[in-house]
Amino acid sequence: MTRALGLRDNATAQASAEAAPRSSFVLPLVAGLLVAGVLIYIQVADLDAIEARSLAFGELLVRLGEHVRLVIVSTLVVVALGVPLGILLSRPAAGPLQAPVLAVANAGQAIPSIGILVLLALLFDVGFAMAVISLVVYALLPVLRNTMVGLRHVDRSIIDAARGMGMGSRRILFTVELPLAVPVMLAGIRVALILNVGVATLATYTDAGGLGDLIERGIVFYRMPILLSGCLLTIALALLVDWLAGVAETRLRPRGL
């Protein structure tokens, strides 16, 4: 378990190391071209009534807004849960709890979101909150795991020196461990963000809207223009979010690291 975790840790750490030179403009450029292509297509194509209604500019903005809101809210909840939980679990006193909590988080990611969505809808209700819950369950693991990994990989000798200077454990956590774990934690948050952009397309099944609405409508009504627009806009959003997250990762990384 720990061994397998270690391997994945390395992959995450590597991903975060490669993030730095990624501030190129390829991703936003591709995203922009995709959006422009969709918009132009909608203007010039011969759309029937259903297509025209689904692809009206205002309608697209609403769906995009719903999608972005789902992603932002669920990512904030994931961070608010995952980071403190990761910190608590990395304290020596919580040692025995690590394995079971990670197992639960692993299970959360293993279960397909669509399953959770349907379960929640059957047991409780449909709507925005249910969509957020299923997104959070799915995206918690990378944030939780990277917080723990980031804290665990802080150079022991730095902590030893800090203790030797008379820093208490709380001060060490906030002035040494967390700042040094930030790059790995940010990489985890970025993964969670991207997962959420993708999984949020399923929110349409719990009546929470989003770009998934377009995809679903395209399938149900068998309208390729709607399906394609939904797909391409989702891809564009994912690319843009990934790029923004990469920029933020570089910016937020403490100087001197």
Partner: protein
């Protein structure tokens, strides 16, 4: 608030650190990592703990600032039993330097040096002045290095910063765990020299751990040699250890060339010179110079003797024989 810790106000004025039957046994082990050990360390003394790995020297050091809690015995620092002082409070009053340096990579050099003063709530201005003063003291130009980050510095420079950081709050005691161990031999030699000069000015009470007997002989006022079984084999001055090793272990740990190495520890002023009236024979040397330095001068000048100012003349033969035959009691280290 736990009991306040005031350095330098101990009841016994000349003993700064007192180890009293201190021992450490780790749970699950059936041997002591540190056997019951008693050493008094005088104020301003430079004590080196030396021995092979696993001899308990680092554990002993780390028990002084309670990074490791002793299993038995007591440690007194500045007249206080450390068991009754809050550990963080205690550590802020004791400088701590380790081999890996342990600078915080996300803080600038200035911020690193100012860490302890900041914890002690010094004013910004006072911290700034102290940081510059310390960087100067360890030979780094404050204007150049203050706002750099640790990874921009070489290993030797980083350890200078490590020393500056340990000195920041002017602690009376410094604990140093192989501080020069990871530095290349040439830089290490420079750092040792500089550190000796620095110590001559600041007179801290230093406990220094190394596995390098040459470093120990060069730096220590006294040396404690431990063997693999954590037994204190000998505790004495470098000269006494070279002159009369306590046992076979110490002898083998010192290695070859003890007699030659003694030359750089003995001073010519301590050798019996032949009173001489005429000083026309050549070079004149100071009684404080080491025998090896004087020999070097004599041989380089192609002479066979020198005049020790105020004492008399010494020939090469005198020096070599007197050195070899010295008994410890006549030696002032």
């Amino acid at each position: 608030m736990p009991e306040q810790f005031h350095p330098g106000t101990g009841a016994q004025s000349d003993v700064e650190i007192s180890l009293r039957e201190v021992s450490k046994r780790y749970p699950g082990s059936d041997a002591d990592a540190v056997r019951p050990l008693s050493i008094d360390i005088a104020r301003g003394e430079f004590l080196v703990l030396v021995g092979p790995s696993g001899c308990g020297k680092t554990t002993t050091l780390r028990m002084i600032n309670r990074l490791v809690e002793p299993s038995g015995g007591e440690i007194w620092v500045a007249g206080k039993n450390t068991a009754h002082v809050d550990p963080d409070e205690l550590r802020r009053q004791i400088g701590y330097v380790i081999q890996q340096v342990g600078l915080l990579p996300h803080l600038s050099i200035g911020e690193n040096v100012g860490l302890v003063p900041k914890m002690l709530d010094w004013s910004k201005e006072r911290i700034r002045q102290r940081v510059d003063e310390l960087l100067d003291l360890v030979g780094l130009d404050p204007d150049t290095y203050r706002s750099r980050y640790p990874k921009q510095l070489s290993g030797g420079q980083q350890q200078r910063v490590g020393v500056a950081r340990a000195l920041a709050a002017d602690p009376p005691v410094m604990l140093m765990d192989e501080p020069f161990g990871a530095i290349d031999p040439i830089t290490r030699g420079h750092l040792q020299d500089e550190f000796l000069k620095l110590q001559a000015r600041i007179r801290k009470t230093i406990v220094f751990v190394t596995h390098d007997i040459d470093e120990a002989l060069r730096l220590g006022d006294r040396i404690a040699i431990f063997d693999e079984d954590a037994r204190l084999a000998q505790l004495d001055t470098p000269l006494a250890i070279l002159t009369s090793p306590a046992d076979e272990f110490v002898r083998s740990f010192i290695g070859d060339g003890a007699a030659i190495r003694r030359l750089s520890l003995l001073r010519v002023g301590d050798l019996p010179a032949v009173p001489e009236t005429s000083t026309g024979t050549g070079i004149e040397v100071d009684p404080g110079e080491t025998v090896s330095a004087v020999l070097e001068k004599i041989l380089a000048a192609g002479l066979d003797s020198a005049v020790v100012r105020g004492r008399g003349s010494l020939t090469v033969r005198d020096m070599l024989l007197a050195t070899a035959a010295r008994d410890e009691s006549a030696v002032v280290s």
